[in-house]
Amino acid sequence: MLTCKQFLSELNDYLDDTLDPQTRSELTRHVNECPNCWVVCNTTEKTLKVFKGMEAKAVPPDIEHRLMAALEKRIADRGPICGQKKAEA
């Protein structure tokens, strides 16, 4: 039987499902028999789910505005990418 420490050290690969079948089944056996590791595994999985579900908020309008202004300036300085090469030809 694995120790809890061994289980913990393999937790990421277990959650990311990148283990060979034998190691995986040893870990599954441990997690089914050890309440502590079951809780840690379950709550780590939920932690990742919560973070992955987090949506990015819109960029604040003033920052968005300055970004667009900087881009427009760069484009005006250099000309559009496709147009520039034509002009050189």
Binding site: T44, V59, L71
Partner: protein, 184 residues
């Protein structure tokens, strides 16, 4: 410009969020945002199309953000890239099951703020790995490549980051009344 500005408005919120998470500074994040899209525009010709456009943008943004971070930390004695191993980072203290759908106890804004706070509490070396791997969903190999770390360093930092975040979220989300159950 219009096709490119569509790309900007499509991706800028994610780039800005990542820049803020890494630099933890609004001004730096804005600089990173601008530099990223200016560079992307200037180097559109170099974009080979063999990786996803967003992955390409993230690579530019991460490098910009790390440069900012190094600049700001250059006067401090703690090196950015090497976490100090206290041997306590993997300790699991909170062992408690969570409420069913704990996220629903909070408004989207509140939850966002709590998650941001949790990420910010991580050491930079762990935080960046977590952001790239678990939020931007890069592979372990891409994360290692981008941060110039070994695969095993990425893996051990990721484990610590995940466990530390689990610890923090458990304090927020654990089922009420479960303390009596503590297995420790």
């Amino acid at each position: 410009m219009s096709a490119f500005s569509d790309l900007v408005t499509h991706y800028d919120r994610r780039i800005f969020r990542m820049a803020k998470q890494i630099t933890q500074n609004d001004d730096d994040a804005e600089d990173v945002l601008q530099e990223t899209f200016l560079k992307a525009y200037s180097h559109l010709d170099d974009f080979q199309g063999n990786s996803k456009f967003y992955t390409w943008l993230v690579r530019i943004a991460v490098n910009e953000a790390l440069m900012k971070l190094r600049k700001r930390r250059s006067d401090k004695t703690v090196p950015l890239d090497e976490p100090i191993d206290t041997g306590e980072d993997e300790v699991v203290r909170e062992i408690a099951v969570w409420d069913e759908n704990p996220e629903q106890q909070y408004s989207r804004e509140e939850l966002g703020a709590l998650l941001d706070e949790a990420i910010q509490s991580l050491k930079p070396a762990y935080r960046t790995v977590f952001i790239l791997r678990d939020i931007e969903e890069m592979s372990i190999e891409e994360t290692a490549d981008l941060l110039k770390l070994s695969i095993s360093a990425v893996k051990s930092r990721l484990l610590r980051a995940r466990l530390q975040l689990r610890e923090k979220l458990t304090r927020l989300f654990k089922r009420k009344g479960d303390d009596a159950f503590a297995y420790l």
